[in-house]
């Protein structure tokens, strides 16, 4: 069981402010890993570095054995690193199933010229995409909303649509940016259950989250960062009782008894 994602000595400065400070972490296959830390600890900068939106000053990132530190975002995604967004980025002008089918774009092989005259192959590929999307919609029981326009759906269903769309690129690992944000407790439970199903289907998960009961209920391994640097790592139970972590979260006034 090798590691799927390896970040070593990653640093990123924004004109003086050190957003990510010599961070190293490893995400093992078949192990749900969560990155936690107080607000402004550098979590979203880390995601942007991993997904290629930002380029690190130093350090390397490897995913599924390949060095992706200098790779553009769409190439990293093509390697199988899916992601969801904190503030759900969907294609408003399209229906749910169309959103998902955009996800399948990278897996299709037909070029534009072939598409124009080879109508049979075009039709087959379209059907294949549609079937794949419907199968995933059934998996996340969103099939009934197949043709609804995305911007007319409630928040919870939009989150599910985004998850479904990420699944469409057959990811090896999905990077979830604060999945629990904006969900009420019952929606949260349901969403976590779906995440577990996704994990069971063989896809690794790497969460960025600061809602502790979500973290505790799903994570196998936790890394804690504060001011861009790693301050603790390990099993959820160990990490929660680690005085450094408590101090970082609750501030120095609450000394560990």
């Amino acid at each position: 069981m090798g590691d799927i994602l390896n970040v070593s000595h990653l640093t990123k400065r924004f004109s003086g402010l050190v957003a990510v400070d010599d961070l190293s972490l490893t995400v093992k296959e078949r192990q749900i890993h969560t990155l936690i830390g107080p607000n402004g600890a550098g979590k979203s900068t880390t995601i942007n570095l991993i997904t290629g939106v930002l380029k690190g000053d130093t350090g390397t990132i490897t995913f599924a054995g390949k060095d992706i530190s200098a790779m553009p975002t769409h190439k990293i995604a093509q390697l199988g690193l899916g992601r969801t967004f904190q503030n759900i980025k969907l294609f408003g002008a399209m229906s749910v199933i169309e959103n998902l089918m955009v996800g399948a774009h990278k897996n299709t092989s037909q070029g534009i010229v072939n598409f124009l005259w080879n109508t049979k192959r075009a039709k087959d590929e379209e059907e294949k995409m549609r079937a794949h999307a419907e199968q995933i919609l059934k998996q996340i029981d969103m099939y009934s909303h197949k043709d609804d326009m995305v911007n007319e759906l409630p928040y919870g269903l939009r989150k599910m649509t985004e998850l479904g769309r990420t699944l469409m690129i057959d990811p090896k690992m999905i990077l979830l940016d604060e999945p629990a944000a904006g969900l009420n407790p019952s929606e949260r439970q349901e969403f976590i259950q779906h995440l577990k199903d996704v994990y069971d289907s063989g896809i690794d998960l790497f969460l960025i989250e600061h809602n502790m009961d979500v973290v505790m209920s799903i994570s196998h391994y936790i890394t804690v960062i504060n001011f861009g640097a790693k301050i603790a790592e390990g099993e959820p139970k160990e990490v929660v009782n680690n005085p450094e972590v408590i101090k970082a979260y609750l501030g120095s006034r609450f000394k560990a008894e």
Partner: protein, 322 residues
Amino acid sequence: MKSRKNIISIVCLIAAVILPWLFNSTYYLSLFGQTLINIIIVFGLNFITGLTRNMNLGTAGIMAVGAYTSALLSTRLGLSPWIGLVAAILVGFLIGRGLGYPSLRISGVYLSLTTIAFGEIVRLVLNNTTSVTGGAQGLTNVPVFSIFGIQIQRGIPFYYFLLLFMLLMFWLSTRIVRSKWGRAFKAISDNPDAAESLGIDIAKIKILAFTLAAIYAALGGALYGNLMGYLNPSTFNFDFSINFVIMLMIGGIGIVRGNIIGAIVVTMLPELLRFLGDYYQLVFYTIAFIGAIKLPQGWPAGIASLAKWIARKTGLKSRKEG
């Protein structure tokens, strides 16, 4: 529901087929020919300005290059207009890629300035390379197409030729818009970050949109040369490019069927308003202006929602009485 839509399409097709027999003076035939060519060009423009929301105000420039490439090949080198068409496609492909790259770095107003500058440069170059393009004197007797030796005369035969061409391009662009390509165009304009996170290479898709549009425009240019029989650089000016965007807006941005309606309305309207004498340009631009502000979703959709609104109003009243 599906069958009703097909009936309407068939009705339109029949209308298009019997049209030249109803109005067969050269004036109407040339007008219908111009409309069909405008429809083809607006199909292309729909990919850039319609789906990827990039503003292209240089369509006339692309059309001019396509027209002159095809016309010069057939008049100077005596090649058949069919080779001219293929050459226009190639030229359109090259321009598409050329114009596509700026759209990666800049967008919105800046991109529109680039396309305007491109259009002006093309017109100036064509106007002043007199030895090659005939310059301001223009290029005369551009030949007509012939299939297996039979010449397609300008007039009714050429109208049907253009009609077939338009239907082919309509079929292609409907297929593209309804396919993964159409979705990709909409995706990168709606939310580029999300599209990138799904493995879509935004640069490739943007350039594809520009290339498709440029090929449609160059093809339209070549056909325009054959329809008119005479080309002059002064025709392809800034106003020409604007008209295509007006057609797109009136028909409804991103709607392929809307492109057809937009092109018909904008090409026919000035001729319809001729009876206004001196004022018809002012009236035409005022209508287009009000349309731009009040009916951004396009006139058909605007009228449809108006119809629904009236239906709801009248429906409400009748329910109250009933």
